[in-house]
Every structure is written in structure tokens, then in C-alpha cells.
Symmetry: C2
Subunit: 411 residues, 2 copies
């Protein structure tokens, strides 16, 4: 199959075209899940699926499937390629859309080339991967994989007070299929890296072998407000200084560690937040990730120990609240090898890597062998109009997807 | 004069009565400068000045003076006792008001006792010491001392868009006297400590010999926003971590120093302030104070050096903007001694101390020998309804004020 390639112009043209659909008055890309803008993008995708001769199926959570099956293979579990086409607010054009359109492109090219797969091939666009309007993110794939009750998900209330189920009906994407009506033989998701590793190392393709575990916490430190001028340093219970100690500790430990743990404090607030008042309270969030559950737990335990010590030494009280906790996902070793083989065959450099972000693939991995392919993100930037991957990199990634899909479909 | 004492019941009653004037619908004390609530407090004070037989004079910045002069002493420079009666939002009842009402009480008691001063005695209530609505704080005394142009001060625009001069006219306190029309022979300000030192040491009275220098800065650190999951620790330019390093440095240096430098970071903000995004920007304020100008400068220089090193090592850019800078004030040695003598004569324990907060006395010290007397603040708390000083402590402080005023008026 290695002599088959995708239609590069068609793929690149569709990425640009879909990226132009769902812009607001300021020109921002805002195809937020189950919105009017999302409907415009979905309609265009469905049009392309139909043009490619695929059977279109929508499930009850709004996931869209384009199915290529033949009389000879329709009893087999399909090979699924997919991602999502909903976006954040003021998004780039590649995140998610690239994986869906490249999946379609791979299937369409195989079909046009007269390839005769032993299994059906399916491209999937999962509902609400971004989680901007309805929580949680990766909802469509989570429901598809049986990880969340359908009715509960449909009852989700959005940030704007709308109900997801009603919105899906309104935009015409409350389908009839039960989520999970397809049982994938394998799932492959092609995605922009959204991180700096591939660009920094000059490597064209990432064979994603696992996905980091995530631990999100909110920390609240209570000290004592006091006058900044009249309170000697030794008599202070400064919640802000205590927060700074935690931030420094996390950066030091994650920075010095031989593990791949990353730690981020992205939000913070002081109370009363006055220039001449010692903070009585500091509230901040912690985002810890590691591809190894044991290392993630070690970091969490080290944090607990540090917070205990800090509470005693700084005269503050510390509360920690878990906001989210996902164990790491290990992708299917055979598919990861097929990705490496595909890269080797076609020429681009390739490395095994970890996904730092969450993706639909982590949900589908619950029910089918899964893996991901990454291509470089310029400057590591994503969730921004500045998101960019060069055309030749997009094409190289899609050709590997085609290659892997063809091999899996021959199983 | 040491056998004269104030009328304790009258003083305590007036403190309570003034503290009940200018409450909002939630019961909060809100006599913010030049507001309708401030007018209510001013009107009550003027009533008491008139009842005491003092001549009431208002200057153009709204400072209120109650003057006791006789035909025999009217050509002499007066001894001035004073503070302010404007408050913060949700204030306690002692800050400022205690000094004004105790000044009135000392003069009224001397007058009633038939004391014959060689100099006039004046009680002053300075406009807008708190600086909540109009900036800067200590404005009335600063203008009185010639440290700020009158017209500029009257043109100050408040946080609510009002103009100070218009507001003073509106509430009837745009007086006719030029600020500085009185040239004090000496100035004494009695005030609650607003800090924990006296209570902690079990000492009744502070003879305030100096007032800390203040350096206020706003620091802006720019790094690079990036995905919290996909950006390795070694590739980050985390503005939030850099800010935490600064906060830790200040607490460490001020805490370990043998100087009396205090350092506070009271406000902070991250951008974009999202749980899963490395902060691109951190903005925070620094409040440095020391009674010794040299030590204050050393701290400022150490901060500059630290920020320079940080910018290089953390890959961030750092901007520092000065928001305010006052050199320390040394009060008049003779008045400080008189305060100590007064305490010794009357019995309460006394220690020399530094004022950590700014006060009108630091402005008047530009034009006349000045000093301050402190009494304990329960828990060091101020600018809060929880502000409290016990009645016997209030009375003891006022009696020392009377004693010192009488001695100075005999000059």
C-alpha cells in the first residue's frame, strides 16, 4: 500500500475551507460545540462525506460518522479514523479538523485507488471535544466509549444556560444511532502536536505511545490580613508568600526531576488584593501531568507533604480540592509500531512521544486499540489563530494515516 | 500641669457618637473624604468645636481647625493637635477620629481648668487622609504643608469621577483660608498603632520617633503562554513562576535581615489566568518600608539586582514602575522626649517606636517640629470594623497628649 498517497490539494483546500466557516463579526473562528456556527461546519463536513460516497450516520450525542463498507466486509469491525471539528473561541484551523479531514482524505483516496479493505473504514467527528460551552471536554467520544451516561450528557447545561440535547436537536444533529453502535477494530487519530517538541527537535512525525495522566487541584491558603507597614516580618501569616512557596516548590521539583512530570500554576488570586495589606487568602490552581501514573502519584504525594509542612511553618491553613483526575492512557503498541513503519517507509523522521493534552483517542482507547499521530505545531502554539502547521507537514502526516489505515483495514 | 486630666466620659462618648455617624445601609462606616457621609461627620465635629468655645476655621482644601487663642497669646505660633476624620470603606471608629477628638478634649479640658497657655492651641482635622476616593492619601496635610499645589489637589478626580473641589463646595467645606495660614509652633498626633507591637509587648504608649520610608512598585513580568500539558519544564518561560521567585526573595531577604525592612506583595494577577495555560504575564505590587533611608535603598537595589538576574535565568522580561516613594521621616526629638516624660509622670509604660503607616504628621513635619503618640491596637487590626483599643488605653493616651500640649503651649 505504500505507493498510495492522498490528494494533497484536496486535503489542504478542505482545511482552509472549513477554517473559514463559523467566523464571528470580528473574524474569530468560533465553532463552539452545538452552536449555529458548529452546524455550519457539520453541514459542510457531511456534504464532503456524501460527495466521497460514504454512508453518513449520526448518533444521539451528535457524533458524525462517514462509513465506507462493502458487501464483502460489512460484517467486520471497522477501522476508525477521527477527531473533532468543534473549536474553542478564537481558534486556529487545525486542532481537530485536521484529523477529521485527513481521515476522510485517507478513506477517499483508498476508495478512489480501488483499494479493497478487509474491514470497513470510518471517519468520525466527535461532539464537543473542546468543552468550552458544555462540560466536560471530550464528551462525544466519552459517551461513545460508554464512559458517561447518554441522558446525563444530553442534559448538560451550557455556560449560556442552554441544554446540549436541545441544542443538538435545534441544529439538526440529534441522531438516531445509539452511541457505540460501531465497535471499532482500531482507532487512529491524527492531530497537531499543540506543543513544541517536534519543531524543536526538527522531527516530522510523532508516534504517540501514551497520553499523560492529569491531576487538577484548587489550593486555598488562609493566613491573616494585616497592615503592610506595621506588621514585622516575623509576625506575619502571609497567604501570598505561602502560595509563592508552593509555586516555587512545584517548579523546582518538576524541573529537577528525571521524570516527565510537568507542573503549572495557571491561575491565582489574593484577598483582599490591596497593595498595603498582607494577603489573608491566596487561591490558585495546580495542573500536574505525567505519562506514568506512579510518577504522577509521587508528585501529588510530595505536594501534600509540602503543603503540610508549609501550613505548620508559615502559620497558614491549606485546603486542596481535586478538580479533575485522569490516569495516563497507554496506546496500542502495534498501532504505534505501524505508525513508525509508515514514517520509515515514506521518509519523514519520526519519534515516539507522549501526548500532553487530552484527546478523543484517550476515550476510544477504552473500547478499541488506539493510537495517535502528531505533526509539528509552529512555536507549540494552539487554541489561537496563530496555530500553524506547514502544508508539507500536514500532507506527510495524512499519508502516514492513510498507510496505517490501509494496514489495519487488511487485518 | 501633670495634675490636669481629660474628661474621659466626654471623650469616649464622642468617639462612639462620631463612629455612629456615616453608616451605610449595611451598617458599614463609610465616611469617605468629601462625601455626604463625611459632611455628617464634619458637621458634628464643628458643633463640638463651637460648644467648646473654639474659633472654627476651614481652609480651601477643607481642613477644619478649632482654635483657642487669647488676647495675650494670639501673636504666637500655635501648638497644633490633630489627625483626620475621613475613613476607609467599612472602617473602624478609632483611626484618625481618636486623634482629632482627643486633641479637642485636651484643649477643652485645659480651657475648662483655667489653664493660661503662652501660645494658642489648635485642633486640626485634615481632609482626605485615607485617599480612598481621591489620590494621594494624606492630601489635606500635604497641601497644608505646601507639598502639593492647591489647585492641582482641588482638581483631583475621584474613583467615582467626581472632582474634589466641587465635592468640597457641595458639602459646604470649601473654606476661605489659604492652606498654611496657621504656622504651627509644634504638632502632635495621637493615633492607634494599627500594628501589633504595643499589644504584643504589653506596653501602653508608643513615643513615635520616626516614620518609615515607603517604596511602592508595580512589577510586570512577561513570559510566554503555552500549553500546560505539552510544554516540558525546560522549555517554559513561566511568568507566574518568576513572580513567585520574586515574592519568595522579598520574604526571605526581609525576614532574614537585621534591618527593620518589611516587604509585602499584596496584589497579583496572571494572564491569561487559565488552569491549563502557562502564565504569559504576571503583574504584582511591592510595598517596601524601612525607617532608615539607607536600608530602604539597599532593599530596592537588591530587588533590582534580583530582577535582572531573574530576567536572564527565567527567560522573561521584567518591568518595574514606581507608584510612590517617600523618604523616612524623623520626628522632633524634644517632643518625643516630652511624650516619654508625660508617660513616666502619669504611670503608663512607654517605648520609642517607628510608625509603619503613613500619617498626617509626616506631612506637617515638613513645616513644624512634630511627633506622634501611639496606643495599642487589639490584634494589630485596623481599617476594619474589628479595630479596637480599650477605653482605659484611649484615656491614657489622651492624658499624655494633654500633658505634652500643655508643656509645648508653655514654650
Amino acid at each position: 500500500m505504500s505507493n498510495l498517497t492522498i490528494n494533497a490539494d484536496r486535503l489542504l483546500g478542505r482545511i482552509q475551507e472549513l477554517g473559514g466557516i463559523g467566523r464571528d463579526a470580528q473574524g474569530r473562528l468560533v465553532r463552539v460545540a452545538a452552536s449555529d456556527m458548529d452546524k455550519l461546519g457539520r453541514d459542510r463536513l457531511v456534504g464532503w462525506l456524501e460527495e466521497a460516497g460514504l454512508e453518513v450516520a449520526i448518533d444521539r450525542i451528535g457524533n458524525i460518522f462517514g462509513i465506507w463498507k462493502t458487501g464483502a466486509n460489512e460484517s467486520q469491525a471497522p477501522v476508525m479514523l477521527g477527531s473533532h471539528i468543534d473549536t474553542v473561541i478564537d481558534a486556529g484551523i487545525y486542532d481537530g479538523c485536521y484529523g477529521v479531514l485527513a481521515g476522510l482524505e485517507a478513506i477517499e483516496s483508498l476508495k478512489e485507488a480501488g483499494f479493497a479493505p478487509a474491514r470497513p473504514l470510518v471517519v468520525a467527528a466527535f461532539t464537543n471535544e473542546e468543552g468550552v460551552r458544555f462540560s466536560p471536554d471530550m464528551m462525544g467520544s466519552l459517551v461513545f466509549a460508554g464512559g458517561r451516561d447518554l441522558e446525563e450528557a444530553l442534559a448538560s447545561v451550557g455556560t449560556d444556560g442552554t441544554v446540549l440535547g436541545k441544542e443538538l436537536e435545534r441544529i439538526g444533529y440529534a441522531g438516531e444511532h445509539e452511541p457505540g453502535f460501531l465497535k471499532p477494530h482500531a482507532y487512529v487519530e491524527l492531530h497537531v502536536e499543540q506543543g513544541p517538541v517536534l519543531e524543536r527537535e526538527g522531527i516530522a512525525v510523532g508516534a504517540v505511545e501514551n497520553l499523560q495522566g492529569i491531576s487538577w487541584q484548587r489550593i486555598t491558603i488562609d493566613g491573616e490580613a494585616n497592615h503592610a507597614g506595621t506588621t514585622p516580618m516575623s509576625m506575619r501569616r502571609d497567604a501570598g508568600v505561602a502560595a509563592a512557596r508552593v509555586i516555587g516548590f512545584l517548579a523546582d521539583r518538576a524541573g529537577a526531576s528525571s521524570t516527565r512530570t510537568v507542573a503549572t500554576v495557571g491561575t491565582i488570586a489574593f484577598e483582599p488584593n490591596a497593595i498595603n495589606v498582607i494577603p489573608s487568602r491566596a487561591t490558585f490552581t495546580i495542573d500536574l501531568r505525567d505519562p506514568d501514573e506512579m510518577h504522577l502519584r509521587e508528585m501529588e504525594a510530595a505536594l501534600v507533604a509540602f503543603l503540610d509542612k508549609l501550613a505548620a511553618s508559615a502559620g497558614v491553613t491549606v485546603q486542596a480540592e481535586s478538580l479533575a483526575r485522569f490516569e495516563p492512557v497507554t496506546f496500542d503498541a502495534r498501532i504505534v509500531s505501524l505508525i513508525e513503519d509508515g514514517a520509515r517507509g515514506a521518509g519523514p523522521s519520526c519519534r515516539r512521544m507522549t501526548s500532553g493534552a487530552g484527546h478523543d483517542a484517550q476515550m476510544i482507547a477504552r473500547v478499541a486499540p488506539s493510537a495517535m499521530i502528531f505533526v509539528p505545531s509552529r512555536g507549540g502554539i494552539s487554541h489561537s489563530p496563530a496555530e500553524f502547521t506547514a502544508p508539507d507537514e500536514l500532507v506527510a502526516g495524512a499519508n502516514i494515516l492513510l498507510d496505517v489505515a490501509a494496514r489495519l483495514a487488511a487485518d
